[in-house]
């Protein structure tokens, strides 16, 4: 078994960074042996979360890491910003809820795409952690 790779930290400041972040996530996903469906799920999830950062917080960062051990393969992505935060998390996770006239599909959709989904938010900090996990 190969050593887990160091986490990769990517800035998210422009819509180009959204593309870069989802590429990086897909690449590691592939390297860790996840299939095409999972690669697409993760890339899409990262795209949603990174876009939210640009849209609602202006900028932030994205950490992509290999969380695998002998029992499971795991890719974990943390996307965080220091923007205004989300006042009502439950509402934000509801399909169709959007404060920007969007589809309101980003957060609830992302949650359905991944195996682990955590969100913490307060004024000045929002952090979403997602993971795909596969037993060996």
């Amino acid at each position: 078994m190969s050593e887990p790779l160091d986490p990769e930290c990517l800035p998210i400041r422009s819509t180009l960074d959204v593309v870069t972040a989802r590429h990086a996530a897909r690449e590691l996903c592939e390297r860790l042996g996840f299939g095409k469906a999972d690669q697409t799920r993760l890339a899409t999830a990262v795209s949603e979360l990174a876009r939210n950062v640009i849209q609602y917080a202006g900028e932030g960062r994205c950490l992509i890491e290999d969380g695998s051990d002998d029992r499971q393969r795991c890719i974990r992505v943390r996307i965080e910003d220091q923007g205004p935060g989300i006042r009502d998390l439950q509402q934000a996770l509801t399909d169709g809820y959007s404060t920007s006239g969007g589809l309101g599909a980003g957060l609830p959709g992302t949650r359905r795409l991944v195996d682990e989904f955590q969100i913490e938010s307060a004024p000045g900090s929002t952090r979403v952690t997602i993971a795909l996990i596969k037993r060996r």
């Binding site: 422009s14 819509t15 180009l16 959204v18 593309v19 989802r22 590429h23 897909r26 095409k36 469906a37 690669q39 697409t40 799920r41 890339a43 899409t44 795209s47 949603e48 876009r51 399909d95 969007g102 589809l103 599909a105 980003g106 609830p108 959709g109 992302t110 359905r112 795409l113």
Partner: protein, 130 residues
């Protein structure tokens, strides 16, 4: 990054070949709508074979573009959606992508022609008497 728009009589063909940034996507939308109006296109086929991610933003751009094209009076078909993209879109939420779809450009063209003919609009075949 601009996406080339090909013209075949009064049908427009667009193949999105790269992963678009949001700005590229907006540019594509306005370029296409402008061309549709300029040539009074009867149909538009949008090929997204090369897109390996369609998130909710891109889905909205595609839907909006399709609706704009329809508002102008043209038929529109999306084609080439990757199986894993389709899977992800449905898992994310039903109804994210609402436009009519086909497997490939050839099929999309057939669909467009059929619909244009059904509308009684035969200009693209150059037959005035039907």
């Amino acid at each position: 990054m601009r996406i080339p728009i090909l013209q075949l009589d009064r049908i427009l063909l667009v193949s999105i070949q790269v992963d678009l940034t949001d700005n590229d996507a907006m540019q594509f939308q306005s370029d296409l709508v402008e061309r549709v109006a300029a040539i009074e296109a009867l149909g538009v086929a949008i090929d997204i074979t090369a897109l390996d991610v369609v998130d909710s933003y891109m889905a909205r751009v595609i839907n909006d573009t399709a609706n704009m094209v329809r508002l102008l009076g043209a038929e529109v078909v999306i084609c080439g959606i990757q199986p894993f993209v389709a899977l992800t879109l449905i898992e994310m939420g039903r109804g994210l992508l609402g436009a009519d779809c086909a497997f490939n450009l050839g099929q999309a063209l057939e669909m467009l022609k059929g619909r244009i003919a059904k509308r009684g609009d035969t200009r693209f075949v150059g037959d005035e008497d039907v």
